[in-house]
Every structure is written in structure tokens, then in C-alpha cells.
């Protein structure tokens, strides 16, 4: 391996392989190791962005609920997940990654479609799909991630947990408690903090006085490194090094992927109220997809045909997931299912009461 976590910065300029214009600025030996993954990463990012734009339309058509767009953060998700193994490794998302998890199979997008439609099946990721359901409560997924890693080790199963959070989540108590426990237990978790500049309307300066989030890693007994989250190849290289560190039994890692939320927090948010226009323009010029595409085209590894195929495949995937989700039935009293393994007597009576009520309402 050409990349060591020890060589990566915890503060200051994040590690990168490509400049925003697609020119190579990082170590060529590291680039050579990950360049072969380039087309796969680009296709994954295109899939996320196409799906993201489709979801805006679906939301306006009333076919999906409000959602948290991934646009701008595709590399920091797709590139990270690329280093992890679906057969052994868990992905623990919050709510902004779900369109970038294609590596873990088409079931993820279908379940996300159910989730977005408000269908209870949206939380059910089938056996063998090691993706935890979306988490709404900030940083609440991080204790779960530590438990997953700890639980796998208890039964001597291999695997590493990739746990996402954002810059806002870093202010939560669960963030501190989880990193501390992971450090103490040397749990194989890669904490992947996407620093996208904003927590709804709260800018970084109101979130932390520290020079970086990665700088907190050593305080919890783990490496903390910064990577350019809009450089998919750098992200993939750092993620691979972080995973290798955790998988080797050397404990957790904190990675800060410096990226940018190119749109609203959710479809219910209006960032024009608080984001300076020049900031958005600056980050538009650092687009993660264009950066990798320029390099791959120049290297003869990507062409217009592949671009068209990737976009069409992404469109089809959204169509399939939403068509399937819209055809998935749900009973109006389904919220009584799965509260307990067996319903309580009170629940059974309440469910009967609801059914009588629904029957009477249908008859009106």
C-alpha cells in the first residue's frame, strides 16, 4: 500500500490526488493504485446525482416525501463505500447517503424508495444487506456502529463498520461517547465525517472553534485524517487505508471528508436565505463528478458512450425502485406490526378498534 494514515493531515489542506480541474496534484503511486477504480466510482457518482435530480421531480409530483439531497457529496460517499466489502462490512448511514450506496445492491434504493414514501418496509434491509436503515436523530447511529463492530468481533466474524455522520453531528454527545468507546475497545469502525460546511443554516464557525474535525481523532486514541471529499480517487485511497487499519485490529479511524452541500438541506429548505452566492460559486467549480470525469477522459478510461450508459442505467434504477415501491402494498393498521415480537393484549384490542373504525369509515 502506498498510502499510510500517518502521512495524512489532521488539520490544514486535506489530502488530495486531483485538483478541481482534474489535474494530478497528489502522489502518482497512490493514484496508480486507485485509478483502475475510476470508472466504477464515476458511474456510482453519476447514479447518485441522476437519482438525486429525479427525486426532486418525484417530490414535486408527490411521489416521494421530503428528502436530504446528496448533490455535491457524491465522491465522499461513493468513494468511501468503494473501499468496503458488502460481504463483511456494515454501512451505517444517516439520511444523506442512501443514493450513493449502489455498491451494496439494488435493494438499498428500493428500500429507500419505500422509506421516502413513508412505507414501513423502508427500514427493512434484507438478510445479507449490511446497510442500517436511515437515521434521523443526529449522531444516534454512531453508538450502533460501535456495537456492530464490537458484536462482530465477539463472534469472531471479520468486518469493519463504515459509519457516516456530518459536521453538525459532531456537536452531539453521541459523537463523543461513540468515538471514546470505539477507541477504548479498539472497535473496527471508520467514522466518516462529511464536513459539508452547513448544518441546515448553521455554518462551520458556529459549529466548532477547532481547526478541523479530524484533529479530534487523537483525543480519542485514533488517527484523524482530512481528505478532499470532492476528490473521489483520494477518498477511495484514504478509505482503503482507514479500512485496512481497522481490519488489522489497530482500532478505529476518524476521517473528515471536506465537501460541500450543493443544494438545500432538504427539499423543504431554502439555502438562498443564508448561503453566500460566492461560496456556492466557489464550490460549483470544485464539482466531484466533473473532476474525475476530466481525468478519466484524458486518460482514455471514459467516453461519451459510457457517460450515456451510466446516466441511462441510473434513470432505470430509479424507475425500477419507485415502480416497485409504489406497487408494494401496506395495510393501514401496519403500525401495530413489530412493536413487540408478540402484540400486547392492549395492542390487539386497539387494532380491532382501528379496524372497526376503518371499516365504518369505508362504508360512509
Amino acid at each position: 500500500m502506498g498510502l499510510s494514515l500517518d502521512d495524512l493531515p489532521a488539520v490544514g489542506e486535506p489530502f488530495r490526488l486531483l485538483a478541481p480541474d482534474g489535474s494530478v496534484v497528489g502522489p502518482t503511486a497512490v493514484l496508480a493504485e486507485v485509478l483502475g477504480r475510476g470508472p466504477e466510482l464515476l458511474a456510482g457518482m453519476i447514479a447518485a446525482r441522476v437519482a438525486n435530480r429525479r427525486l426532486f421531480s418525484l417530490q414535486r409530483q408527490g411521489r416521494t416525501g421530503t428528502f436530504a439531497p446528496i448533490e455535491g457529496e457524491e465522491a465522499s460517499v461513493v468513494g468511501a463505500v468503494a473501499a468496503f466489502e458488502p460481504a463483511t462490512d456494515w454501512i451505517v448511514p444517516y439520511y444523506r447517503e442512501l443514493l450513493g450506496l449502489g455498491r451494496y445492491g439494488s435493494e438499498v434504493l428500493y428500500r429507500y424508495a419505500l422509506y421516502q414514501r413513508g412505507h414501513p418496509g423502508g427500514g427493512y434491509l434484507p438478510e445479507g444487506v449490511r446497510v442500517l436503515f436511515p437515521q434521523i436523530s443526529l449522531a444516534a447511529q454512531l453508538p450502533h456502529a460501535v456495537g456492530l463492530a464490537w458484536g462482530r468481533r465477539l463472534r469472531k466474524a471479520p468486518g469493519v463498520v463504515l459509519a457516516f455522520c456530518g459536521d453538525g453531528a459532531s456537536s452531539e454527545g453521541d459523537f463523543a461517547e461513540s468515538l471514546n468507546l470505539a477507541g477504548v475497545r479498539r472497535a473496527p469502525v471508520v467514522f466518516w465525517l462529511k464536513n459539508n460546511g452547513w448544518a441546515i443554516s448553521t455554518p462551520l464557525a458556529a459549529q466548532t472553534a477547532a481547526p478541523s474535525f479530524a484533529a479530534r481523532g487523537p483525543a480519542y486514541g485514533m488517527p484523524g485524517v482530512r481528505v478532499d471529499g470532492n476528490d473521489a480517487l483520494a477518498v477511495a485511497a484514504v478509505a482503503a487505508a482507514a479500512r485496512a487499519h481497522a481490519a488489522a485490529g489497530r482500532g478505529p479511524v476518524l476521517v473528515e471528508a471536506v465537501t460541500y452541500r450543493m443544494g438545500p438541506h432538504t427539499t423543504a429548505d431554502d439555502p438562498l436565505r443564508y448561503v453566500p452566492a460566492q461560496e456556492r460559486a466557489h464550490w460549483a467549480a470544485a464539482d466531484p463528478i466533473e473532476r474525475l470525469r476530466v481525468l478519466l477522459v484524458a486518460a482514455g478510461r471514459w467516453d461519451d458512450t459510457q457517460q450515456g450508459e451510466a446516466e441511462a442505467a441510473a434513470d432505470r434504477a430509479v424507475d425500477e425502485a419507485w415502480t416497485r415501491a409504489e406497487a408494494t402494498p401496506v395495510s393501514p393498521d401496519a403500525f401495530f406490526d413489530h412493536v413487540y415480537a408478540e402484540p400486547t393484549l392492549r395492542q390487539r384490542r386497539q387494532r380491532e378498534e382501528l379496524r372497526r373504525h376503518l371499516t365504518a369509515r369505508a362504508a360512509q
Binding site: 450502533h144 460501535v146 456495537g147 456492530l148 458484536g151 465477539l154 413489530h338 400486547t344
Partner: protein, 328 residues
């Protein structure tokens, strides 16, 4: 049968369940070498090693929250929150995550998680060590809330909790750890959830309680009989959720009178749920208005004042007399 204190019964049960099922792990503050501040986990780490009996950092949210991941990966976590008042620091994980895991995953993941915590007051603790918060958790669907009053039930209910496919908040009467002593069945002993126990049969009035207040009610019932000739039936709910309304209703249908006793503040306490249920189920059997005897609507008091807060047998007796319309 062996006579054990409540803490001995809990410790024996933890040992037996860990020996029976290699998936059971015990985690919490000071549960290892120290054996827990009440010695409930004494000897477990020596017997089962530091990988299964784990001293945790002092962080309630991750003690409770890591159980979610552990359970998904097939472990059976038994976590200890050192005092129930500290559970507020894990409220979002306990109520927002653990309780909802099965529901949130549409049945994909169960949550065979037991959270043990000392419950109630009476021993002059510092602040936040003596809370009775059962009603706060009873209002969170997905959790079972269990509150044993005897050593035998502590063993039998804890074994059921650990084997339950659903999360259980297991409340241990703090002042009863060593005061409560009774005959405990040897070997396997399981007490089902949702089956109340008639501690003292009686004809004139039904007294409902749980946890350490059961013994207070038993004493008050004895005094009611000795001093006033009133024959009170004392029912130990054993489990708050599920709530055995049938046993309570059947008793009140016979006695026509009910007193419900809790340590928690009056307003919106679980006693109110019991009374509301009695009124719904037995309205025409009631001879007198239901009576609640409870803590006052104040934060749990500091040590010098707590004797005036925790219901004692005088107050329960007064409640019995009120329900039976006897002027003391």
C-alpha cells in the same frame, strides 16, 4: 428453595444466564472487578472474562446505544445503568432507538436487550439516585418495564427479560437489594411478563403496587386488618408493561374498592393508568372513588426530607381507610 436477598438472586440469575447462553454480555459502569456498586455483578468477570463482562466508559448513551449494534450482530446485551436518574442521559437511545429497533426495521431486527437499573429511594442517596421513572418509560411502546418486589421474582423476571426478544427495562428496588429476602427456587425459574401476583388475598379492598412499595402495602394491609378489621387484597403488578389489568379488574370487581400506590410523583404516574383502567373496566362495581397514594409532585427530595416523600405504611393505611370509608 434457598433464602436469598434480592441482589443475590439477581447475581445468581445473571451468572446462570451467562453460563446458559454464550451470547449474553454484561456491560456497564463498574460491573467488572468492582462487581457493580451494589455487587449485582460480583464475580461475573472472574467467571466469564472481560470480553463478556465489560467495564464501560461513563457514558450512558453509548452504554445503551451500543446494545443496538451488539443485538443486531447476535449478542444478548444486559446493560446496567448505575442509577435510574442517570437513564435520562440515555433517554434518546433507550426510547428513541432501542425501543424502536424492531419497529423501525419492520421486523428485521429484534432487540433482545435488558437494561437494569436501581429504582426508587429511601436510602439517603445524593440527588438523581432515587428516581421512580416507570411511567415515563411505560409511555414508550416497544419497551417492557419490569419491577420485581421479591427476590424470587427478581430471579424469575430477570431470566425472562434476558430471554425476551424485546427490550426490557428492569427496575431493581434500591432499598430492597439487601432488605428483601425470600425463598428463591433453585435452578431454572422463569416468571412470565404480564401476570400479576396476589401477595395477600383479601375481600374488602384491592391495593395495587409494584417494586419496594409492595412490602409497604403488605404491612399496611396487616395493620388495616389488625387495627380496623379490614381485609385488604394486595396485588404486586410485577410488570408495568405489559400491565395485567385482568387480575386487578377481577379483584376490584370483588372488593369494589381500590388503592394504587407508587413512589413516583402523582401527576401522570402509572397509578393513574391503573385507576383509569379500573374505572373503565369496573365502574359499576366501585363502591367508593379510587384512591392514589404516591410521592408528591416535587423533584425527588434530598436525604433529610425523603421520609416525607416516599409513601409509608401510615399513608397507605390512610388510603385504605379512605377507600373503605373508615374515619381514622
Amino acid at each position: 428453595m434457598t433464602v436469598l436477598t434480592m441482589v443475590e438472586a439477581i447475581r445468581n440469575c445473571l451468572h446462570d444466564e451467562m453460563a446458559r447462553d454464550g451470547r449474553v454480555v454484561v456491560l456497564g459502569q463498574d460491573v467488572g472487578a468492582n462487581g457493580g456498586v451494589f455487587r449485582a455483578t460480583d464475580g461475573l468477570q472472574a467467571a466469564f472474562g472481560p470480553e463478556r463482562v465489560v467495564d464501560m466508559p461513563l457514558a450512558e448513551a453509548v452504554i445503551v446505544g451500543s446494545c443496538v449494534g451488539l443485538a443486531i450482530e447476535g449478542a444478548v446485551p444486559v446493560a446496567e445503568v448505575q442509577f435510574l436518574g442517570f437513564a435520562w442521559q440515555a433517554m434518546h437511545q433507550l426510547c428513541g432507538q432501542v425501543a424502536r429497533l424492531r419497529y423501525r426495521s419492520d421486523g428485521r431486527f429484534g432487540a433482545p436487550i435488558t437494561i437494569r437499573a436501581p429504582f426508587g429511594g429511601g436510602v439517603r442517596t445524593p440527588e438523581l439516585h432515587s428516581e421512580a421513572l416507570e411511567s415515563q418509560f411505560a409511555n414508550v411502546p416497544g419497551l417492557h418495564v419490569v419491577a420485581p418486589a421479591s427476590a424470587a421474582d427478581a430471579k424469575g423476571l430477570l431470566a425472562t427479560a434476558i430471554r425476551s426478544p424485546d427490550p426490557v427495562l428492569f427496575l431493581e428496588p434500591l432499598r430492597g437489594y439487601r432488605l428483601i429476602r425470600d425463598e428463591v427456587p433453585d435452578g431454572e425459574h422463569l416468571v412470565p411478563f404480564g401476570v400479576a401476583r396476589v401477595v395477600r388475598p383479601g375481600r374488602d379492598v384491592t391495593v395495587v403496587a409494584w417494586s419496594a412499595q409492595v412490602e409497604v402495602c403488605r404491612r399496611a394491609a396487616q395493620r388495616a386488618y389488625d387495627e380496623h378489621g379490614i381485609d385488604a387484597e394486595v396485588i404486586d403488578l410485577r410488570t408495568i408493561v405489559p400491565f395485567d389489568a385482568a387480575t386487578v379488574a377481577a379483584s376490584v370487581a370483588r372488593t369494589g374498592r381500590v388503592v394504587v400506590v407508587q413512589e413516583a410523583p402523582l401527576t401522570a404516574g402509572f397509578a393513574s393508568e391503573v385507576v383509569a383502567t379500573v374505572v373503565e373496566e369496573c365502574f359499576y362495581d366501585l363502591e367508593t372513588p379510587p384512591v392514589r397514594v404516591s410521592g408528591w409532585d416535587v423533584p425527588y427530595p434530598v436525604g433529610l426530607l425523603e421520609d416525607g416523600y416516599v409513601p409509608d405504611d401510615d399513608r397507605v393505611l390512610a388510603g385504605i381507610l379512605r377507600a373503605t370509608e373508615v374515619t381514622a
